[in-house]
Symmetry: C2
Subunit: 212 residues, 2 copies
Amino acid sequence: MIAVKVSEKSIRRLSHYARCLRLAKIRGESIITSQELATNCGISSAAVRRDLSIYGEFGKQGSGYKVDDLLVNIENILGTTDPPSVIIVGAGSIGCALMISGLAGTAGYTYDSIFDNDPAKIGRYCGEKQIRPIDEISEVIRDKKEVIAVIAVSSGSGQDALEMLVDAGCNAILSFALEPLKAPDNVEVRYVEVSTELDVLTHSMRRKERVN
Amino acid sequence: MIAVKVSEKSIRRLSHYARCLRLAKIRGESIITSQELATNCGISSAAVRRDLSIYGEFGKQGSGYKVDDLLVNIENILGTTDPPSVIIVGAGSIGCALMISGLAGTAGYTYDSIFDNDPAKIGRYCGEKQIRPIDEISEVIRDKKEVIAVIAVSSGSGQDALEMLVDAGCNAILSFALEPLKAPDNVEVRYVEVSTELDVLTHSMRRKERVN
């Protein structure tokens, strides 16, 4: 497994290339040009060519790149050839919606299980998975070894969920909780922040109105 | 309405400060120190002090900042004192979950309405809102004037949804669709990309394993 240090911006672009290459594979395409990759990914073709030249011997400029080989190489860099399990903590509307919508089109991630601490929810189904009691999380994390946990608990409960996950040995967390979470240095926490995205869009909209 | 040009990173931090100040207000606090703001927002206190010194006369260092005044000033910079309406396109599991979980704790955004093109869904309820037919979107956008649209349609339908929104006059879009979307230059598109966040977490996890 090659997993070199790459900037976050580059990782995001590589993740987008991988997604486009998977779609090309589904369409039965075996060769892709850097221009096609640029158009499909919404990234400038100059940036695509630069990335492809930096991240290894992926093919020949001009004659195009082999879709399979390029995808394998990019997934090696990302470390996603054999992706970790993903669990969901919190079987509210967002947690269940994530489980139901699934992770098709990704590097092969699947939602392994979903947990809640509400006795009224435990045992019910979200899509095809039964909601499990929260005290079974440590067992799942121990069995799977590598787990990414998605925190989708109600506002104000994010920190408790994080601490329980960290105690159970989880060191990769994606939080939909509104509040910032405190975690030890060895734990990576990322956020999906709809309200911040709305603020960024509003700021941009209002600034344009002021300029025009 | 003051809405100066600020870098995206700064906007995100200002959005986080605003969120923490709203919570402080709910707790009945009238004064907040830069250290408290730093701790509550998960941002270094040096960065908080720098931001507060750059973005105006928000209070006095040492004796703390007035929560109300600081919030008003930050919302003026963000342009969120009177936030635009938010609509949801796509009443699948994610679209409905967003509608149900709502936008409490934000600058005052609310999900105004939710749309779908599936006759079987139209008229049903997501939370307290009835799902409306997609051809009513242009009317809503015309009435509201300022609208942020959240695209939560199924994979492969994102571009169609975007084009319909742009034709209807919407120029601010937050997409949960997996595919990159093409939009005119005057339209701001942002993405919530769970699969890319998972890739970033996996890359980080695998790199640590390799280093250790």
